[in-house]
């Protein structure tokens, strides 16, 4: 990925926000015990996380990188940060970097913000925090005990110069129109700009002069499995810019409804499973930095395969219809029966419904139900073998 290949290796390699970067270097160079922690606030993709890691690398510190999800509760903070802060002389030269600290608010916050503020008041190691926004109440309390430095979006022409430099190294070019479109779409987000450029250049279809900038899911999935090379497939994958859950579902429904042999199906489903596990972990921990690895997992689906075509639904139409219409009726029936039997609806449907239907079929049970249920009961009885 170009965004990894061209990630700055030293702070002077970064682009934009020159004065804030210099201020951060000065803060770090002059740091001593008791110096107020530094809070970097700015939009995504402009180098807040990068500068944290580069500072540690350049100044020879041992970085302890955390995310808001790691410091959500007081107990987590005590578990992770207190040992570091209490054993500084033994641990070498640690520095703490808490990324996306504005994510600390919300229903999941069990005293994390307050405990963090207590630690920030008495820092005995350099502490750096990064946030996209600083206007919530929790962020206001964090701002009181930190020094804030703002990172702003990079000016578009400077982004163009930076991008031209990458294109030169990659020995490739973008048309002026595409260049402006990429810069406009990225909205000052360097990482997004580089990813979009890479996807444009590897997903471009010269014969139709269409690019996959705003590709719809159906075209994207079909193009992915028709790609002539893994690079082309990767470009298409990056261009399918939809929610991660929808992306996984789109591949899943396309694969399970295609006519595949069991070995191929097993291989594809293994990849989908890995992608699903990654997304589950992200949702649970709220560690959204891991999302960058989703496409690296999904690319393993690539194989030029004419059998796979996009399908929105992962079931056949007749089955889908039955689930929709008959499902509603069964749900209504189970709700009534569950009350009579003092069970939950799901327990009735799972455990009792087959027996009830069997008894009705053998005329050993008569139920006083509305006539509207007659059709569904007859249908379900027919399915009993």
């Amino acid at each position: 990925m170009w965004s990894e290949k061209y990630r700055p290796q030293i702070i002077s390699d970064m682009v934009g926000n020159e004065e804030p970067r210099a201020a951060i270097m000065e803060w770090f160079a002059k740091w001593k015990k008791g110096t107020k922690p530094l809070l970097i606030v700015g939009p995504p993709g402009i180098g807040k996380t990068t500068i944290g890691y580069l500072l540690a690398k350049q100044f020879g510190y041992d970085l302890i990188g955390l995310n808001a999800s790691d410091v959500r509760s007081k107990s987590q903070i005590n578990e992770i940060l207190i040992p570091v802060l209490g054993n500084v002389s033994v641990l070498g030269t640690p520095m703490i970097f808490i990324d996306e600290v504005d994510g600390i608010h919300g229903r999941g916050d069990y005293g994390g913000a307050a405990a963090l503020v207590d630690i920030l008041k008495k820092p005995n190691v350099p502490i750096l925090l990064a946030a996209n926004f600083d206007d919530s109440d929790k962020m206001k309390s964090i701002k009181k005990v930190t020094t804030t430095i703002s990172f702003k979006k990079i000016p578009p022409r400077l982004l163009r110069v930076y991008l031209d430099n990458i294109l030169k190294k990659e020995n490739t070019k973008l048309s002026p129109g595409s260049l402006i479109k990429v810069i406009d779409n990225s909205r000052g987000d360097i990482r997004s700009m580089i990813n979009l450029t890479q996807s444009l250049l590897t997903g471009f279809n010269p014969s139709t002069e269409t690019s996959f900038e705003s590709i719809n899911v159906e075209d994207g999935i079909n193009a992915f499995f028709k790609a002539n090379s893994i690079e082309e497939a990767r470009g298409v994958l990056y261009s399918i810019q939809i929610a991660p859950r929808d992306k996984i579902n789109a591949f899943y429904s396309s694969i399970v409804t295609s006519d595949l042999d069991s070995d191929a199906l097993a291989k594809y489903l293994e990849v989908i499973s890995n992608a699903d596990m990654l997304l589950g972990k992200i949702m649970k921990t709220q560690n959204w930095r891991l999302l960058r690895y989703l496409n690296d997992i999904l690319i393993n689906l690539y194989q030029k395969d004419d059998r796979i075509r996009y399908s929105k639904y992962n079931l056949s139409w007749p089955l889908l219809n039955r689930i929709r219409w008959d499902g509603a009726k069964i749900k209504s029936l189970s709700s009534i029966m569950a009350k009579k039997l003092h069970l939950s609806s799901s327990a009735f449907v799972t455990l009792c419904l087959p027996y009830v239907l069997f008894c009705i079929k053998n005329k050993t049970l008569e139920l006083e139900l509305e006539e509207t249920f007659g059709t569904i009961i007859d249908k379900e009885i027919e399915l009993i073998q």
Binding site: A29, P155, I180
Partner: protein, 78 residues
């Protein structure tokens, strides 16, 4: 009356200054009013040093940018 006029001019000039970024390479104005990205640049909310058209069209524009950044902010060389 004269004083009011001159105050008005100063106010106007101050407004104009906030609409122009500075070129980090040559030090002159970045030429925001003629910039090809004028429509998509939120001038007050972007990083305040940019690069002018002339400097950006030079052969090794990014290298020039980096050299100028390091010269202007020597601490970045640390």
């Amino acid at each position: 009356m004269v004083k009011l006029k001159s105050m008005k001019l100063d106010f106007g000039q101050k407004c104009a200054q906030t609409d122009e970024l500075q070129c980090i390479v040559c030090g002159s104005s970045a030429g925001c009013s003629q910039c090809e990205f004028q429509d998509i640049c939120d001038i007050p909310n972007v990083s305040q040093l940019c690069i002018c058209k002339k400097c950006s069209d030079e052969k090794n524009a990014f290298d020039s940018y980096q050299k100028s950044s390091k010269k202007k902010f020597s601490i970045l060389n640390s």
